[in-house]
Amino acid sequence: MAAEEKWNDWAWKPHSAADQAGDKDSCILLGQQLEEPGRFAYAALCGISLAWLFPEKEQSSFRIEFIEGLVKWLDLPDAVLSAMTAFASGLGGEGTETFAQILLKDPILKDNPVVITQDLVSFSLKDGYYDARARVLISHITWLLRIPLEELEALEESLLESLKEQKEEESETAEVSRKKKERRKKLKRYLLIGLATVGGGTVIGLTGGLAAPLVAAGAATIIGSAGAAALGSTAGIAIMASLFGAAGAGLTGYKMKKRVGAIEEFEFLPLTEGKQLHITIAITGWLCTGRYGSFTAPWSSMLQSSEQYCLAWESKYLMELGNALDSLLNGFVNMMAQEALKFTVLSGIVTALTWPASLLTVASVIDNPWGVCLHRSAEVGKHLAHILLSRQQGKRPVTLIGFSLGARVIYFCLQEMAQEKDSQGIIEDVVLLGAPVEGEAKYWKAITKVVSGRIINGFCRGDWLLGFVYRTSSVQLNVAGLQPVDLDDRRMVNVDLSSVVSGHLDYMKQMDTILKAVGIKTKECRLKEKGSARLFAPPAKKTPQAAGSEARGEESAVRDEDAADGGHWSWEPMDSPDSLDTSRDGARPCLSLPTGTP
């Protein structure tokens, strides 16, 4: 908590600012404290980054709107608009480094450049809509200013924290002024989004799993910081409700009202207890009896966001498939045959039509459940797309991660979204592991439209099982899960997992290592980072747990130590398990926070 308190001290200045927060004039936005050249460089840096991140034509309205809004937000004269628009259209990109340097040398920013990040978050949230593209931009700017990325997450968390805490600390004067303000504004809008009045405070009864138990007593008084106060002054409650899904129930409350198409089961299970301004949805590829009998099992170590869900879908069929896969590899086909199969499949001699008869026994076991699940995963993906499009999850960025057929669900979800309007700015990153989908770049091009951050394709060249089961759907072995997707886009990241994954079943068993290899945060790395953030704090009691969590897959080892409560963590994509091992022992010092919390 020490780190977090520090945060609150300088970032949100809770008390003094909170008292006056209702009065907009008294709020000096951090961005506006900058001198004009600083503000100019700030906006220019955003403009150039927008052009770099989202050069597509269909994104031009987002770029222009964002930069125009920012110019207003920063109180820059309209005269700069033409230059800013030029920056946002891809001109003048050479200046990035200079602008970043100017900002870093600015007397106000020199000691904590993170106020830029903070200001951008406030700006992005002010309309109650945390666009995934905005978050990608903020991450990029944060990176350009050499601020560790965990500061962004810490900031988002402290924003949520202060929402919860300051409700209790609300002073009487502030309460009076807030009430006056609220009365003036008429609560009509709030009532529309399901507001209940309890005692003196206004409480949004966001029940259900996904929606935050937010007590939004007029965000102006709750969020102490000057930056966030401006956020609050524009109908804070509506903003927060919008961010977290005004419908209240959110994802976990989502129930299929009627059978959709052929889908029999579709439900979101919470993986973590926390709340965040961005969420992660994990999708499991199959189930098998025993340890991996539940949808949540493979994801026990993942901690990409402190708010994570797991999609439960078609368990009956996935269980059938899993057991078929299992029996295939453990007994039904002996080791020798497996090797022969592997060789046959991967050599590419055979095509779908000319499989040797000796393999047909294998095929008979696996083909039916696979075919059923293949079909259903596409249906489920389309359904997921429509849920995300209808914003059941609230207006905040979503990261999707799935393996095997779960990756196929994601792929079809993205394809479906790409065909719809207003599908941009919802998805932040996607991670597809061992995906049984076509691997040709032209099919993947469409999904760049809906993904704001990265498209990570984790593949394994030696995954003969995937090659074999996918054979009927594709004449050639052009499967994303077997090879890199050759798409020329800054979003596309191909990760060769061959050293981690020796067979398709490893995607489930080695998930912890895979997650690290593709740069998804896990509990272990969060704990480690936490430890480093507290080098100067009371002795890190977490260390034993961090060590304990090395036994990967141990579901409950670190579960209680929910690292999401505001600790600092670092995001470091790691290439191979070897590097993981070394960093586990030796990387602690490099994770210490260089700046930001003076």
Partner: protein
């Protein structure tokens, strides 16, 4: 994008505060003049397509702020520029004296050494001239720049300044060919020499 545009050129306008950089640009792009023009914040940007010697060139013009407080921003615009217009005020000797500093900065931050430079003595409509035309000419020659005297107010020489600059850039294919090759334009037939006579004696080709 227009098909017949030969190339897009990045032009930069620099010089001391108040010498009339923005006014020159405004006169060139919009053919207007505002005596009360506010000081530029950071940088201004305008696009104009002009035709020189039968070649259409799209000019992306970055008009920098002259004020000292924005000086830190200027280095970011130099990179990749093909032409630069250096402006001084003929009624203020100090703006002429400071030209050396600007040339130094240009040399420091500019990414190419064959950038085409144009020296413009602005405000020749005013009575109280402090810098003689010959002085400007001499300075320009010394630093191998093009030279012209102009007045944004009366429109004198403004068009010429830009046209001469573009013409010189186009005559220096190394400056812009990499860009145009991407669009499949052949360079060979654009090489015809062209004397600097179009501007009625204002320009000195050096």
């Amino acid at each position: 994008m227009d098909e017949d545009v030969l190339t897009t050129l990045k032009i930069l306008i620099i010089g001391e505060s108040g010498v009339g950089k923005s006014s020159l640009l405004l006169r060139f792009t919009d053919d207007t003049f505002d005596p009360e023009l506010a000081a530029t914040i950071g940088v201004d940007f305008k696009v104009k397509t002009i035709s020189v010697d039968g070649n259409k060139a799209k000019l992306a013009i970055w008009d920098t702020a002259g004020q000292e407080r924005f000086r830190t921003l200027t280095p970011s615009y130099y990179r990749g520029a093909q032409g630069v217009i250096l402006v001084y005020d003929v009624t203020r000797r100090d703006t002429f004296v400071k030209l050396d500093n600007w040339l130094n900065e240009l040399e420091t931050y500019c990414t190419r050494n064959d950038i085409v430079k144009m020296l413009v003595g602005n405000k020749i409509d005013k009575e109280n001239r402090e810098v003689d035309r010959n002085e400007g000419l001499k300075f320009a020659r010394k630093h191998s720049m093009l030279f012209i005297e102009a007045s944004a107010k009366t429109c004198d020489g403004v068009q010429c300044a830009f046209e001469e600059l573009v013409e010189k850039i186009i005559q220096t294919p190394g400056l812009w060919e990499s860009e145009s090759q991407n669009r499949g334009v052949k360079l060979s037939n654009k090489e015809e020499g062209y004397g600097g006579g179009a501007c009625g004696g204002y320009c000195s080709m050096l």
